[in-house]
Symmetry: C2
Subunit: 213 residues, 2 copies
């Protein structure tokens, strides 16, 4: 479960060069390449519809080579999935640490969630949402625990929203409904080239919140 921190990868020094020259003219971190390619393919064709050969092709490897970096296809799925939740949870906690008023905090949380979901986290978040159920029970339990942690934190935001009179219902069902509206956007964002994530987040807030001016 070690964070992949692919987000903050910077240009590595020449000393990091792998022992064997990479196929492309790039630097290192072939492991990260595999994860990113796998994420994209898993989203497009599903986990079971993607072969190790697809992934290897996408990063310019031969079919046996991904197993030098991961011990199984399942481990690739697990890594993509946890990358997805970890980033989302980290983002959420950073927003909350700002200590904004309830309403501003909520809108910021939603916007941040959507910015990742529809932007850089497109593949990772999608795989977490729709493919992680194909993991083994033990792995799925870990993922489930992390998702539960996310909801727990999000729940506190909703509680404050209710206390400030902006939200009437902060129950578990209401929380699921709101998160559903948010997460579902990954399904339709592409086809409607319309709004940006930020704007969608604002519309969601307006839909659910009661203004107190």
């Amino acid at each position: 479960m070690a964070a992949l921190t692919m987000t903050d990868m910077t240009v590595p020094s020449a000393a990091d060069a792998p022992p064997v020259a990479p196929t492309s003219g790039e630097e290192g971190n072939r492991r990260g390449d595999i994860i990113r390619a796998a994420g994209r393919l898993f989203r497009q064709k599903g986990y079971n519809g993607t072969t190790i050969r697809d992934i290897a092709d996408a990063v310019g490897m031969r079919s046996g080579s991904p197993f030098y970096h991961f011990k199984s296809k399942h481990e690739i799925l697990f890594t993509v999935t946890t990358e997805g939740i970890e980033v989302m949870l980290r983002n959420l906690e950073m927003v909350i640490a700002k200590g904004q008023p309830a309403r501003e905090c909520f809108e910021d949380c939603v916007a941040t969630h959507m910015n990742y979901l529809l932007g850089p986290g497109r593949d990772f978040a999608w795989v977490m949402l729709y493919e992680s159920r194909l993991l083994d029970p033990a792995e799925r339990a870990i993922v489930h625990r992390m998702s539960a942690r996310y909801e727990e934190v999000f729940s506190a935001v909703l509680d404050r929203l209710q206390a400030s009179g902006h939200l009437h219902d902060a129950s578990a069902v209401a929380r699921k409904l709101i998160l559903g509206a948010i997460n579902w956007s990954a399904q339709w964002y592409d086809e409607t080239g319309a709004s940006d994530p930020q704007a969608i987040a604002r519309q969601l807030c307006a839909l659910v919140l009661h203004e107190k001016n």
Copy 2:
């Protein structure tokens, strides 16, 4: 695209008995058996994670026999998918035909949608929502057209809701957000044994609507 009408299947007369005696002691419609078993398996393990042998086993056939009823595995997926949308669209149009006031109509639509999604349509609706993207482009286009038709009808309901002052935003994005909150319930309904579909529908309405008493 012919409706399967598995919903209104009743006890067939003895004259409908298949030429070859079925393995189990039951009546007919092995095709319907296959569709139902496939729906359940596709939801549990995904389309690509389900084999023809899984489906055949589930209905007590040998692995080659499903191809007597369907010309390919894809055709099974397509049939399950269209069954899902057709029923949902039919249900929606029946509710609208009642001619209720905007607010009552909306709540009825949501409740009906959720009753099918979380009840008898669990497998069909799930496959439509999450597995139909694995269809061929041509088949997917048909499914997409039917979903668009559903949204179109649903959109008219939202427009009336806006006209009556119960909803501020009836835009395409708002529609997607509302449908997302509804559809996402299929993801969490099982684990939280709490509310029934009806109650969830009511909470969704309260969350989104402005009361005008």
